[in-house]
């Protein structure tokens, strides 16, 4: 089959927040840009983000600022974060939010008419810019409309709206093409026709989002198959710290068909409390030592905090997500769960019905229509769901350039490092904007500095073609749907929220046998809009991700953030010195250890010594961050 060919300066894979922001930046730098959407334009998983975008604008509490935000982010990530990314993120988020307003976004307002900011887990002050509980939709629609505005301008100027920026909807990229060590383009297929497509492009920005579909219970849609993670690995990039997977504490648990769908953290930020089957507000029993000075240990103080944040400690429902998820897991295991295997989350006794509907409209809607539960009158049942991967493509913080492959960039969830071992709620939407912009700028600068464009070679095309045809040529191969379910069961049961050596080794063994079968999966039917064919190709990506997680998790012999080992239940400061790097070895992946970059003195000084002692070794502190 011959393929469509296109030529662009920059190819952006992924049309969620990070991809669209990168595309805007690259176009503004004067380059031609192609945006690849796996779905229709405007449907990317960013629309599911509910709570808000964290940015220290200080609109609600003027004590807030980038240093406070930076500290919260590092604490949330248990100090394993790439500090430079956390620093850039904290400093640049306000500008990224404000510019959205000039593109037409309409955030909720404060009494002074500024952008309102709400409380969220792990954030010291009200910090999340929001629109009710549909902030992600606002973000993606604003950027979608920004792209359209740029196209309208191009139409006026050049007579062709798509001359310099074009959206390729329902197209999947399966391979990055290279010329020597440098990116020369990408290969993929139109979902509609199944026809093959070749992009010649010297810079590729990965903005493909997450990996949730490797797990059985997830808040992610079908698109979260780790495509960018796999593309980067195979192109010669590295994945950093893949053991850290965030299980959001509150997913729906009933009915079964909606198990895993997200219940926004704003429910807790706006006063919702977690109780077990005995009616006990159990989070008070789970405040870890490192957080004792910041979180209330009694209900009276926790309740006072909602009205007076300067003189009270925060309610423990607002601990970072990893802590809350583990606590819920423990309550259910101890037999104190709700009827359908979760715990209760109740906002009905905390706010008047009308206020709940105003602040949490889509939650009200979601529970009413999908579970027959009226959250203004009764509690929700919730439990952990695979939500986000902290690990991802290792990048240079300032340019978002992928380490190990010239011309490859990554931003958003597919990139790793920013969030350390655990991401704070609200830090994802701002991450998309800050590093989406940086990736677009990084790619543009790279392309402009090239003296000779890398070429797409026939060998590379042949390699990509072969892979695409395999599912149709596999006579008697397995059904991709059932193999996918098997993969999800292995990761969910053996590489899930609580891990141990025996189960991880078992998982790795099972993944090896699944690897053999994945290459023989058979697609029935033709090429046109054939979900079985699409899944057959996505399966290998999910497998690579699962292997990366399992191998990294086996190596890390401690518990930290989104990685909990019941055979090594404590956080160990020695392990904070290391990141794990996953590399493609030609047939699977290997994981190796790399020394983490120490915090520079000026950032270390932002913390109290007493706090640092909880995370750093004596030796490190003696050196003073040098």
């Amino acid at each position: 089959m011959s393929e469509n060919r296109f030529k662009y300066d920059v190819l952006v894979i992924g049309a969620g927040g990070a991809g669209l922001r990168a595309a805007v930046e690259a176009r503004e730098a004067g380059l031609s840009v192609a945006i690849i959407c796996k779905s229709l334009f405007g449907k990317a998983h960013t629309v599911m983000a509910e709570g808000g975008a964290a940015a220290a604008m200080g609109n609600v509490n003027s004590n807030d600022g980038w240093k406070v935000h930076f500290r919260d982010t590092m604490r949330g990530g248990k100090f394993l974060n790439n500090w430079r990314m956390a620093e850039l993120h904290a400093k640049e988020s306000p500008d990224r939010i404000w510019e959205l307003e000039s593109w037409g976004a309409l955030f909720d307002r404060t009494k002074e008419g500024k952008i309102s900011q709400r409380n969220f887990g792990g954030h010291e002050y009200p910090r999340l810019a929001h629109v009710g509980d549909r902030t992600g939709l606002e973000l993606i629609r604003t950027m979608q409309q920004r792209i359209v505005a740029m196209q309208q301008k191009d139409k006026k100027e050049f007579g062709d709206a798509e001359k310099y920026i074009k959206v390729f909807a329902e197209l999947t990229i399966t391979d990055i093409l290279k010329d020597g060590g440098r990116v020369s383009g990408a290969y993929g297929y139109w979902r509609e026709s199944g026809n093959e497509v070749l992009f010649e492009s010297s810079a590729v920005v990965l903005a493909t989002g997450g990996i949730g579909k490797s797990f059985k219970i997830t808040s992610n849609s079908w698109e979260g198959t780790g495509d960018g993670h796999a593309l980067a690995l195979k192109a010669g990039g590295r994945l950093v710290d893949m053991e850290f997977v965030q299980f959001h504490p509150t997913g729906m648990v009933w009915p079964p068909s909606v198990r895993g769908i997200l219940v926004t953290e704003s429910v807790r930020g706006d006063g919702g409390v977690l109780t077990n089957s005995e009616g006990r507000r159990f989070m008070f029993d789970y405040i870890p030592e490192v957080f004792k000075d910041k979180y209330a240990d009694n209900e009276a103080e926790a309740d006072r905090w909602y009205n007076d944040q300067n003189n009270n400690r925060r309610p423990p429902e607002l601990l970072p997500r990893d802590e809350v998820a583990r606590a819920i897991n423990a309550e259910v295991k101890a037999g104190r769960g709700s009827p359908h295997g979760g715990v209760f989350l109740d906002v009905s006794k905390r706010l008047p019905a009308e206020e709940i509907k105003r602040r949490l409209p889509s939650m009200w809607h979601q529970f009413k229509e999908l579970a027959d539960v009226d959250i203004t009158k009764e509690p929700m049942e919730v439990g952990p769901t695979c939500h986000y991967v902290m690990g991802g493509v290792k990048v240079d913080p300032d340019t978002a350039a992928a380490v190990g492959v010239e011309g490859l960039f990554a931003a958003g969830e597919v990139a790793g490092g920013m969030h350390g071992s655990n991401r704070l709620g609200g830090n994802s939407l701002s991450d998309l904007l800050v590093f989406g912009r940086r990736a677009g700028a990084g790619a543009a600068a790279y392309v402009k500095a090239l003296d000779k464009k890398p070429a797409v070679t026939e060998n590379e095309i042949a390699r990509a073609k072969k892979r695409m045809n395999t599912p149709f040529e596999n006579v008697g191969g397995e059904n991709p749907y059932s193999l996918h379910q098997e993969l999800q069961t292995v990761t969910q049961d053996l590489v899930g929220i609580i891990r141990n050596e025996l189960e991880l080794k078992d998982a790795i063994k099972k993944l090896i046998s699944i690897r053999e079968r994945v290459s023989k999966v058979k697609a029935e039917g033709g090429r046109a809009f054939n979900p079985g064919f699409h899944l057959a190709l996505d399966l290998e990506n999910m497998l690579l991700v699962s292997e990366s997680i399992a191998l990294s998790a086996l190596e890390r012999k401690e518990s930290r953030g989104g990685h909990t080992r019941d055979d090594y239940p404590k956080m160990d400061s020695d392990w904070r010195q290391y990141n794990h790097l996953t590399k493609w070895n030609g047939s699977g992946v290997d994981v190796e250890r790399e020394e983490a970059i120490p915090l520079p003195a000026e950032l270390l000084e932002l913390f109290e010594m007493d706090e640092l002692k909880k995370y750093f070794t004596e030796k490190e502190l003696a050196k003073g961050g040098k």
């Binding site: 779905s39 229709l40 334009f41 449907k43 998983h45 629309v47 599911m48 306000p94 500008d95 404000w98 510019e99 000039s102 593109w103 037409g104 309409l106 955030f107 909720d108 307002r109 008419g113 500024k114 309102s116 629109v131 009710g132 549909r134 939709l137 606002e138 629609r141 409309q145 920004r146 359209v148 309208q152 139409k155 709206a161 909807a169 509609e192 849609s221 009915p255 079964p256 068909s257 769908i261 997200l262 409209p361 889509s362 809607h365 979601q366 229509e369 999908l370 579970a371 991709p480 749907y481 059932s482 697609a523 029935e524 039917g525 033709g526 046109a528 809009f529 054939n530 979900p531 079985g532």
Partner: protein
């Protein structure tokens, strides 16, 4: 707890197609999309269907269920009687690509024709001040998840291909209303554009669009009627007409 249903699923492409019937077992709490996925995983692995979030937030799984435009992820099986036949067909107003997937590019073309938000020249990012009550009207329209069910049901285009050229449809009337009501948008003749360039006048307010909106946006009452009324005011009131020629008027 499982119940049995007969599903009739339309399968085919632009050249034509037919219904495929199948018996399915349905579990408690399931929605139509769950059933379609089960059929896909066990009986028709190449059954084409769009979906993403499965929570009514992305507007991808639009189709017609027993003839009504619906989101498959928000249509609970408990709303049907056991033994009832459930018929699933692609959106009728748009060309079929394959099975339940249609070509909705009409909507993206129309989106391109609505001039974007024009920011005030004298305000830098960060300097915007707007009252909550002033943004709420536009926020209602920004809840739109672009499922295009309103476009599908609108009888101006549902069976009238010939009207598509000159009619933007309810989704884009709320977009125009949203910008028109935006406290800081600098384009002041959006209502007139809606009337003259986007076919607002062809709508005869039957409210079909409002009825199918999964976000419960009051498309007709809050967007279309107010724009129609004010456009009429400006057009037929001689003093207002004169005023509009003398100086730019705000908020009409």
């Amino acid at each position: 707890m499982s119940r049995n249903f007969k599903f009739r699923i339309w399968r085919g492409d632009a050249k034509g197609g037919d219904f495929k019937e199948t018996q399915v077992e349905v579990n408690e709490g399931e929605v139509v999309l769950d059933v379609i996925h089960r059929v896909q995983a066990t009986q028709m692995s190449d059954l084409a269907v769009r979906w993403n979030c499965k929570a009514g937030k992305c507007g991808s799984c639009s189709m017609e269920i027993n003839g009504k435009p619906r989101l498959a992820c928000m249509t609970r099986m408990s709303t049907f009687e056991e033994g009832e036949t459930v018929t699933v067909t692609p959106l009728r107003a748009f060309p079929v690509i394959r099975d339940l997937v249609t070509d909705v590019s009409f909507n993206y073309k129309k989106a391109m024709e609505v001039p974007a938000f024009e920011p005030p020249a004298d305000l830098k990012p960060g300097e915007y001040r707007m009252e909550q009550v002033d943004v709420e009207r536009s926020q209602e329209f920004r809840k739109c998840i672009e499922c295009f069910l309103c476009q599908d049901t609108c009888h101006v285009i549902r069976d009238h291909e010939e009207n598509k050229e000159s009619f933007a449809g309810p989704r884009f009337f709320i977009r125009m209303a949203e910008l028109d009501m935006h406290p800081l948008d600098q384009i002041k003749n959006r209502k007139e554009m809606a009337q003259e360039q986007h076919g607002l006048g062809m709508c005869n307010i039957t409210k079909c669009c409002t009825e199918v909106c999964p976000e419960h946006i009051k498309i007709t009452d809050n967007a279309i009627i107010p724009m129609k009324e004010r456009v009429v005011d400006v057009k037929y009131d001689p003093i207002r007409w004169l005023g509009s020629k003398i100086r730019k008027r705000e908020g009409i």
